[in-house]
Symmetry: D3
Subunit: 209 residues, 6 copies
């Protein structure tokens, strides 16, 4: 039988290969990206730890009283080319995730703890879709739309999040409009906000101009 | 020779068909969409006029002193499944296209007339990319990012626009935040805008709450 | 100002529409699927509850001492066209999720509770990738490969799962080989299992032939 | 044990479904196509014969001394959504497949019998890529490029063909230019062919104008 | 407040990164392409000028009395990965764009000036779709099909063109058949053109063989 | 006329380029892959032989009495980015291709010679789809499902195979479960196979543990 097995393995060598990545394409994050993602690490250098993200825990609280801990292609290279990534967020009682968008990523919130009121605004009729979710609920926020989350319950609110992008962008309303050098006159003209309001927020978010 | 031609056409019937849409899939816009677009009209009912959009002209001015005339899959069914659509816009002197996003559509502006200052804000560093363009310039605005256009020259400014979606969404900052029933308290908490500012804009854009 | 607002809304009507699904395509699960998914429900009939899955809780235990509760496009139509779905599983102490594959779906396990040993087998070299994960760990199982999960800790083991398919197939080794009418002779010839073993498992999994 | 099996099947019912097509999407060719293909037949009505094309044999000879027998989505509905289809062709000694293109389908020729000289012309430099192939050779013809096949050997030449489209278009030079009502003046102006040549071929291919 | 802002920016650093291209993937055209396009330039080196094409003007007239000025990924790297590109063409009175195809690119003609008669030929029935368009018209030419444009009006005819490819191929009938070393005998056999005609056009388009 | 031709070629240089791969992207298999495939070889180095696979012949018999000879992206670089590859297999009388899966590749079998009984098992209901095919039959095996082939006729059985992947994975049941160091206890627990059976097959397929 061993004789036949010898041929079996010879046969297998002829139909498989270590040259190509056929089961997975773990990112070589030091190489340049292209529109489909990062080049693959050589399969022979891949280990089980490439498939494990070990730090999916609450992050440090920020000034908004919430923490956000992402697992994206840059720190979890096994998701290269899969079109999805993850994050854990925790909001202190009364905390808020301010109005923002993710360009080209749908967000899915899997509530873990507390009571979270999440909302998004549709583009066609500016309709507000809003719901308070808790453990046992999943909420889908369609891609690219303005949305927010409020912790409206007692104690901490926690959730896992899935994004349909290996590294979603996060465009926060306040930082996009007030946290850079975009001229106040332009901000006012394109948002209909008052000059005083713009100046106040520019100061608060360290913008200039 | 005619005898051979007879066989030629018999042969051709065997390799072609009127059953399937093989060259194009013109939208049957009365049917239900699916994630890939609209079902195709029966190929036999398609004429050259399905491939022509005849009204690519300046639209009517609105209160912002600009007009916007879209050619999307609903009024130009030949673009079904192609992932692109078009618009013509014209801005009066001093006019503005206010801050907005297109979820999942990159926008390409082909300037035709006048001097247009267009800008977008990146998400990673909130950097402002801004440029004044005129006839002979094309500008790309990456998908999902906040952007705006100002007519900064003398006279009218005009452009053709290409979107990488058969019907791009348009989420205008002012209408999304102030033109619906989203509670003022939530707007304020998630945008850091002052109560008075929110009330003023709610009134202006007919919002409630 | 109201006069101008009147024009504003007239303008908006011209650039938006209730005809097309532009922000989302919630599945009409009673219609026939196509390769891109289900047709979209009319946008006007969509409510926030279409975006919420309310039953993401432990399911009922089965004979393997684990429960599996899926949130796929059939019971969570907001994920239509997104290429992802979800499940919650809970394994009793000592329980096991038997060897199986998901054709064309990568699986991502987000451990919630307990100690789970999960493994998958690569195709090119039949290498075993195996890891014990617990709360705070995410594990990626590349699409189509044989894999399994064991609860190796004290007490219950729980996890949320993300699949890169709106409704992943689940092909369990035992049911595929022994739970149908595939002739025993063929099973034996194509698997090298002994006749007695095949008979025993055919009986156990209610197969015939 | 039977008791446990009962629960096993109850469990399985909860994770599988006959509602959705999860393993395959066999075309319902009587329904309207959409950009992703045909709607799926109800899975419960699918049998093994849907996956078998039984007539992959030489077709009838036409005036070019070759036969072409396609297996595309209209007569082989199991390939719906897969982006590939098949054909068998047989060329008599000295026969030719005239100059043609397949819009958006790469063609792969698997030679079976005889000596076939196949060529395609690149678009960037109008370079001719030409090769005589026989049994044991595969040739790739990049999508959309003009190409042809000649039987240059003794006896019949046969091949199987794979197209990267569920139903490739076939645009034959002669029929596209001379087999319809396109005005002779336009043909001449856009092809630089002489009037007499155009008239001769219009007559031969039953064109008018 | 500044103290809180300090934390705000620390927080933002944790959710954003300069490592990955998340908003855009501007082509590094000196690197090797892959099937999804060019690798991305490092985001930190990107400026607003990468998003602007400044030379979208009439090109130089050629022997056909028209000019063609492309804006493709090689001279407009911001369109990398977007699947579209642009061109400006201008045809002198009486001029013609000869019969040609674009493999795998749909073409959209936005007429700017003059009267242009454009036509394409479907593959299934060799039907001619022909229309005279002028300023205010858009025409779609399905991918891969033979088409042409004639300036049938007084004075110059101009148009902008959009292609659904970052760099469309252009296969001109005359150059593909007569502008290379493809043997005359093969041209004749595969096109049914007369020997004298082929010789004449070979001479005209500098072909050999 | 030559003068005009001179301009013609100058014109063509302006619309074409040797910089970009526009007609094809032949793999540079020495470079690192990315999720879309291999980088393209410089177009100037491509010849017709890159499009030809010359060794599509029966391979050497293995212990299963069949040979398998693949034409995938590693030995046939012209198929880079096309999502398909090929193989020839030949089975001796009475031979078998054992139970296996191809993760994310549909398989299409084009029977050439003999009588082959091929079967696959659906995942939703564990239904066996089984058919005996011969020359003139094509069989589709949906992606990711367990399947097998038996030569049930007199003499050799041969087929060409098309896979919807440039290099399909092959996961053979026996080697995945018994040909590695996966602990016997885990194999038994996750497959319900008896200890003695697992030990026997581990010995046969050179597994350890």
């Amino acid at each position: 039988m061993m004789f036949r097995i010898f041929f079996l393995f010879a046969f297998l060598l002829s139909i498989t290969s270590h040259v190509s990545a056929i089961d997975f394409c773990v990112a070589d994050v030091k190489a340049a990206q292209n529109p489909s993602g990062y080049p693959c690490k050589p399969p022979a250098t891949v280990t089980v730890d490439d498939f494990v993200f070990s730090n999916f825990v609450p992050g440090k609280n920020n000034i908004f009283n919430f923490s956000f801990n992402p697992a994206n292609v840059d720190n979890f290279p096994a998701i290269n080319g899969l079109g999805l990534s993850f994050a854990r967020f925790d909001i202190e009682e009364g905390g808020v995730v301010p109005m923002h968008t993710h360009a080209d990523a749908t967000e899915v919130i899997v509530a873990l703890q507390g009571n979270l009121t999440a909302g998004f605004i549709s583009s066609d009729s500016n309709t507000v879709f809003i719901k308070t979710i808790s453990d046992g609920n999943i909420l889908v926020i369609p891609k690219g739309l303005l949305h927010f989350v409020l912790n409206v319950g007692k104690g901490k609110g926690s959730a896992n999040v899935i994004f349909t992008s290996v590294k979603p962008s996060v465009q926060l309303f306040n930082l996009a409009l007030f946290g850079n050098n975009l001229e106040s006159a332009i901000v006012e003209k394109t948002t209909f906000l008052d000059h005083a309001q713009v100046q106040k927020l520019k100061a608060q978010f360290k913008g200039t101009g």
